[in-house]
Symmetry: C3
Subunit: 356 residues, 3 copies
């Protein structure tokens, strides 16, 4: 099995995402979590089972004590140089469930970066004090680079990518898959479903990653509903074509509502605007979900959203049983706990626990 | 018993504070802590006993281990969008004493709020990952609104109001009552005492809440000493009149010193200035406590202050045994621990613990 | 034995650093850690042994559980009003290893200091809720002042100085000594070695403190390599002369490389520039270490750096076995844990633990 210690950085970075996937293992088992392309269907399925197991164990006090004892001797660093309260808190809660002690750097203005330190040195510092680094940053590819760097250092601490530039947000993609698994657990699973993505599909990295993961399921149709300026990028379309996936691009949201099994709403990602404010000019009113749109949907369909939302989902939708975005958010905590448990090889202990 | 699930928001918000009080219970026991009006004398007395009990148990290592085991399976979110180091640290320590794991958002500039999320959605997010939310904000009534929202959601997580706008800071008021209880425990308790409030009584929410709670004690006289521009607001005066309480407004501080049982000093709350700097024009030199004023006070009287202070209490006063404001601050930690223990129904376990 | 309760502030502050040292004890044992002058060779040696012991115990899960149980009933406050990610995280990890619960204030803009509170009152507040205060600040002498203040209060909580103004950073100096102890453990220890300091020796407080501690070892030569404007201050030169230490000032880096046992690199501390940017005018290119300089060094010599670094050490040096700065950083965590364990008198328990 290849590892990052076997390859020079300049060779590694030229690989395709598909080729990079297997390299992120550490010590012969799951190590860094950097890109969605690491996750094949088998791994997605076992993570889903583990997440459900953790969720159930956590319901009792006895179970929580078991979970909190698993990694209480480990310390995790949450390094969020790009702000995200939700992802941050979700990882924090996941770590706390497993008993990890925490350190955090959220506001880089208070870090020693003002003293001119390189990102590489900062990460190596974190690896000196912690056993796991969860990092989120604006720079695409940085998590990957850091995984390579640490793998080739004296302390090869695992890195979990909590969002890296416009490209990758693998844990979000896996929690989305888990939410689909749970939503369709009584209707044959994800295979054969029709998934409709809506909104800013150009810059939403969660859509990119999820679209990729869905190619691992049989006969899943992907529909991309967006204004022309925000339609899904060509590399994703190319990836889908190459994988032989049935997909559709459209700007007609209403027409897609009756046949959707899942509607995945997204907000306009204007923090990525090249010039401030250009997103304001896009009319997204036709890409919003309210009670009228809800009425057109199938009874068994679900509405998802990575959150935070703005006006693209009306709050009136919240109480509809098809609105699963709050549950989706909580799923993130369980999936991240499952991933971290796997990194530290405690997954079997969890699956075998006799307390429930 | 009424709960927030039984009433529409538009009906609830029109109720008087007195009427709102009973609604904050959850699952038939103490739930949200939102307004001072929730606390009747019986509850204040039992919280005081519990706080004292926790304080004593915490003195030994064995006791601390007992306390830290009580809620170690729970997670609390400290959401302070209005800054307050003291209240924040006090809640943090209270949670740590009871073993709760913590998450925090203190600086809203690093939260996802910049992505345009509503306060409602932020709070629902927190409720997805945590079992308790302690919140402090500049917006009056927000904690109340959020308590209603969560009570009517799938995860009715309790909210503790750590300061909401200019109106309410109920845990501060309860810790002030506890400090008075302790100060007068050998002199007949709070009943019949003369409490003198001094300083910016218009905008100090602690004074408002404490003034209300004192109406539950027999024959307590309340004296309000302030420059005319900062004298206590008319709604408080009206509340006192309605309750038949003996109270006095004055701007003559010195005349009140000999007869006071407790002097409650406050600082000018200029962060609430409508125009920046208007408070600077008020002459507060006559509303300060130094060694000269101390000399006029009764030997058994106490000096309180919610802190932080500026020049209104001279540091020369600190070493006088009547200066109880440092103890008052530490009381906040015990009272908050008592409140949180009560919310999670561990108060009986604490009262019955045989370790001391 | 003298304590801070035995002396008025105005008398204490006039003492020399040498004279102040013994006063920082609390309750008859190690208390506040404020200045490098507190540490004699005996104490440095026992701290080194304890740090090594903790490091070894922490290698196993069983050992980590033992360590985490030692101070789990205590709470530590990390108060960093001057930013430093590295020192902060190092203390945080050290506290977590010993099981201490944590509170932190890192960004003073979100503290209540904007309400005009004095530093004295802030520290007294922290002492109300916590059992240990680790503080870092820009103001020279503040940690010393606060240690005196708390020693003379009702809660004499120990203070650890994590960097105070331009003068003192005692825990950095002790971890540097520990790194030298480890580096020379098979070559006779620190005695008789030649230590070469390079860079901004005027404003680097770590150099000042380390230079002082080295005077406790026999026949250690100290060499100061810097451009004239950044050469080590006269008070240090005076201290060395008084102690009868052999030392050299030079601006010729290369000439010192062959004979050095340790090269201690530092970066330009331009955050202390009186006028912004004056450091930019100093040519430091002759005070950088790259592979060429490495080639001139002795095989058994080591390269140290307090980090963060800029260009003064080339990243190409990192993989050389003589580059010990990453290990030096991790040593900081062990040494700080050893110090805190000593403050709370658990050092004997650690030395006697039979688990390894």
């Amino acid at each position: 099995m290849s590892q990052l210690t076997d390859i020079a950085w300049d060779d590694f970075r030229k690989l395709s995402l598909q080729e990079k996937g297997p390299y992120f293992r550490l010590h012969g088992h799951e190590g860094h979590v950097i890109i969605a392309q690491q996750f094949d269907r088998e791994r997605l399925d076992s993570l889903g089972l583990l997440a459900t197991r953790i969720r159930r164990i956590a319901k009792t006090r006895n179970g929580m004590e078991f979970l909190q004892g698993l990694l209480s001797h480990k310390r995790a660093m949450l390094y969020f140089s790009q702000p995200s309260t939700r992802t941050f808190l979700s990882f924090l809660a996941a770590c706390e469930i497993l008993g990890l002690k925490l350190g955090e750097v959220r506001d880089t203005s208070i870090s020693s970066e003002f003293k001119g330190e390189s990102q590489e040195d900062s990460i190596r510092s974190f690896s000196s004090y912690f056993d796991l680094i969860v990092m989120r940053c604006k720079i695409g590819g940085l998590a990957e680079r850091m995984a390579w760097l640490l793998s080739n250092s004296e302390r090869p601490v695992p890195i979990v990518n909590a969002g890296s530039g416009k490209d990758q947000h693998p844990t979000q993609a896996v929690l989305d898959i888990y939410t689909l698994q749970r939503s369709f657990e009584n209707s044959g699973g994800i295979d054969g479903k029709r998934i409709v993505f809506v909104g800013d599909l150009l810059r939403g990295r969660t859509v990119r990653s999820l679209s990729h993961l869905l190619t691992q399921y049989r006969d899943v149709e992907q529909v991309f509903v967006a204004p022309a300026q925000l339609q899904v990028a060509e590399d994703i379309q190319f990836m889908l074509k190459t994988a032989g996936i049935n997909f559709t691009l459209t700007d007609d949201f209403r027409s897609q509502l009756p046949s959707a099994d899942a509607i995945y709403m997204t907000r306009v990602q204007d923090e990525w605007d090249a010039q401030k404010g250009e997103s304001g000019k896009v009319d997204i009113s036709r890409f919003c979900l309210g009670v009228d749109e809800l009425a057109l949907m199938n009874d068994s369909a679900v509405v998802m959203h990575p959150l935070p939302r703005r006006e693209e989902i009306s709050t009136a939708v919240d109480r509809d049983p098809r609105a699963v975005y709050w549950r989706q958010m909580r799923n993130g905590m369980w999936v991240r706990a499952a991933m971290i448990a796997t990194i530290f090889e405690t997954h079997e202990k969890i699956m075998e626990w006799a307390g429930i």
